[in-house]
């Protein structure tokens, strides 16, 4: 007997500004847009920063507030019902106070517990795991699971992109900014759309070098000149190789844990790396099966901790009673496989 299910009462998302197409991005970076189309396959993304001036227009806190507001409205819930917030991000606005605490303030929530996870593409799943543990402790009120990233902090638009090492360059075409949120409860409530039934997140890269590394540095690093020249690095070769393997392992582990036959699954929410790679992984994971894929990366870019919540936001309106979905994500930082099963609530 595992922990009780987490009921999904509502979801919401936020993306900053207008979508930025490949022509616009490629022009700004001085690279051919046909290359982005052909090899990355992501069509649009949103940036919190103004591409022309480099000025930040939205903070992570802004985006998380918008997403949480929409999730609460979608759930028909009031902020005063929220007992705890779990927020996952790799790019907090500041190290202190936490974005989770500032989000509570923006929502006017007094007295809630606020947790923040330092995480990547698997972060939303980790946040659901923490929420599930908190909900299982007692008949709490509602929880708010939030994930978001503003990558622009590390996107230095003033440099010559033709000189960037490949491991740094790919980040400029893969990532986008955004946030997502879900309102969760330990008890079914009228209007609950679905329930998260089995969840797993595990480190799966013992001894392996990280696939993604994001630096942070302070005043002393900058003064002494020891701040890393490349603040975001992705070993995209390792990512290309390991993510499909880990996604397969996760798919099998979740199907076993839930005791589901592959044929009984209706929707697949696959790992969201870039448009092209997600297409490849999707067709491989569901080969021979009629799994309907629910993806967002081709339109949103890789929004890190927001991805799974954006996919859930697309999934919930599609679900009809008794339908099932498999949510798979892989975080390539220190190689984490993270996912869960979703079952539609009765009408």
């Amino acid at each position: 007997m595992g922990p009780p299910p987490v009921h999904l009462l509502g979801t919401g998302t936020a993306l900053p500004g207008e979508p930025v197409g490949n022509d616009r991005l490629a022009e700004r970076l001085g690279i051919p847009s046909a290359w982005v189309e052909t090899f990355i396959g992501t069509r649009t993304r949103h940036f919190a920063v103004d591409l022309d001036t480099g000025r930040a227009r939205w903070t992570l806190e802004d985006l998380c507030t918008d997403a949480a507001d929409r999730a609460l409205a979608n759930a028909g819930a009031d902020p005063s019902e929220v007992d705890f917030i779990v927020l996952a991000t790799a790019t907090p606005d500041a190290l202190m106070p936490s974005t989770a605490a500032l989000l509570a303030d923006r929502l006017g929530i007094q007295g809630a517990a606020a947790y923040q996870l330092q995480s990547g593409c698997g972060g939303a799943v980790q946040a659901f795991a923490v929420a599930r543990a908190l909900l299982s402790l007692g008949p709490a009120g509602l929880g708010l699971v939030v994930g978001g990233d503003v990558c622009s902090k590390h996107l230095d638009l003033g440099q010559d992109f033709r000189d960037l090492p490949p491991a740094a360059l790919v980040n400029y075409v893969l990532f986008g900014d955004g946030a997502g949120a879900a309102v969760v409860s330990g008890r079914p409530r009228p209007g609950a759309r679905a329930a998260l039934t089995h969840l797993e997140h595990r480190l799966a890269g013992l001894g392996l070098p990280p696939g993604q590394r994001v630096e942070w540095f302070g005043a002393a690093d900058l003064r002494s000149g020891t701040a890393p020249r490349t603040p975001v690095r992705e070993d995209y070769k390792a990512v290309e190789q390991r993510v499909p393997e880990l996604a397969r392992e996760l798919r099998d582990a979740l199907l076993t844990a839930a005791d589901w036959s592959p044929e009984s699954v209706d929707y697949l929410l696959p790992p969201q790396l870039g448009g092209r790679m997600t297409e490849r992984i999707t067709s491989e994971l569901g080969r021979g099966l009629e799994w309907e894929p629910v993806s967002c990366v081709a339109e949103t870019g890789n929004t890190g901790n927001a991805l799974v919540l954006h996919q859930l936001d697309r999934l919930l309106p599609l679900l009809t009673p008794a339908q099932r979905a498999l949510v798979l994500s892989v975080e390539s930082s220190k190689w984490i496989r993270a996912g869960f099963t979703v079952e539609a609530s009765d009408a």
């Binding site: 001085g30 051919p32 046909a34 290359w35 052909t38 090899f39 490949p166 360059l169 790919v170």
Partner: protein
Amino acid sequence: MRTVEELIELANAHLGTALAPADAERELTELAGWDSVHLLRLIGLLEQVLDRPVPVDAVLQARSLRDIWSAAVTA
């Protein structure tokens, strides 16, 4: 740039590759360490060296280094 060997030297000098002249005819997918980001960087380098835009669509469809050279240099 008059020969595909010069293109290979250019790549080795700037992209950290260790390509040999004999690699000119091989499929790009068979070249150890070669990937789409190298191709992107090579397009940029060729445009600098040639001082003109290269036909990107043709280069992206190239299957070998000689194909790239033909598309970029003889265009």
